[in-house]
């Protein structure tokens, strides 16, 4: 019996997805501009999509469902990017900055 090839082991996909989520959360906490936080959010989206696809490939009875779900996630991510970037541009027009530290109205 031949050993299971590397790309047929679900644990590797789970590990990569967990790494993507962890790196995304780290970037979300550490970034100091709105666009950087948006990019980290995209990494979290990617981790969720990869996790869903791994479960879809190895554990789901209907392999089409996970692909459709991930397709919808991509569509919603595109919509979210469009809205978020227009909000960022509106913020930049008002404050002349997208650094989260400087986006304050009150002193102190």
């Amino acid at each position: 019996m031949t050993p299971v090839p590397l790309f047929d082991r679900p644990v590797i996909y789970f590990t990569v997805a967990a790494l993507l989520l962890a790196i995304g959360v780290f970037g979300l906490l550490r970034r100091r501009t709105l666009i950087g936080m948006l990019i980290s959010g995209e990494l979290i989206f990617s981790g969720a999509s990869l996790n869903l696809m791994a479960f879809n490939r190895f554990k789901a009875p209907d392999p089409a469902v996970g692909q459709i779900f991930v397709l919808f996630i991509m569509g919603l991510a595109a919509a979210e990017i469009a809205i978020a970037l227009s909000i960022i541009l509106a913020v930049y027009r008002n404050y002349r900055s997208v650094k989260t530290r400087e986006l304050t109205e009150l002193k102190g």
Partner: protein
């Protein structure tokens, strides 16, 4: 059936390359100081992710990942970078509070990764007994037009609302000519 010599090794190497590309791109996206490099890291990450989708028997999603993320999302972010010049200053990294919060964030993320990895590696997920279809593009298309037709229409509506909303938000505040 004649096979190419060492094809198993080559396929395994390509798979490891895809996984390493994904993780390396994510690290570049999260850790570099310049935002434009961060966007390039996101592009690299999405290219690796497309390869992983291909290995998960879904060439359709691999194509969509490159088309939507690399082709649309990253290019849109680059437009915003050019318009809003979001440069992070390097001096802020040197302060004690920044280092402290960075370490705190690292601890949180290490805990998240460790917990998820334990769950994924050691839980006994049950595999399905039968598959109802083969997960091909044909099966996806049939599902999209029958079972998930309502969700399919709703996603197009959501995209339309997002486009109109983005135009409306970006327009306010602009001074009249």
């Amino acid at each position: 059936m004649p096979t190419f010599p060492a094809s198993t090794m080559i396929v395994g190497g390509v798979f490891l390359l895809c996984a390493a590309t994904t993780v390396a791109g994510a690290l570049i996206a999260a850790l570099t100081a310049r935002i434009i490099r961060s966007v390039c890291g996101l592009m690299i990450c999405c290219l690796g992710l497309a390869g992983l989708y291909y290995f998960l028997h879904s060439p359709f999603l691999a194509l969509m990942e490159i088309l939507i993320y690399v082709g649309a999302v990253c290019v849109t972010i680059i437009f915003a970078v050019m318009l809003a010049e979001p440069e992070e200053s390097v001096q802020d990294d040197k302060r004690a509070s920044a280092v402290l919060w960075g370490g705190f964030a690292f601890l949180i993320c290490a805990a998240i990764f460790w917990g998820l990895w334990q769950l994924g590696a050691h839980h006994d997920w049950t595999a399905p007994a039968t598959r109802v279809n083969d997960g091909s593009v044909e099966a996806i298309g049939k599902s999209l037009l029958t079972t998930y037709s309502l969700a399919f229409e709703l996603i197009s509506l959501a995209l339309l609302v997002a486009i109109v909303g983005a135009l409306a938000i970006a327009r306010t505040g602009r001074s009249k000519p």
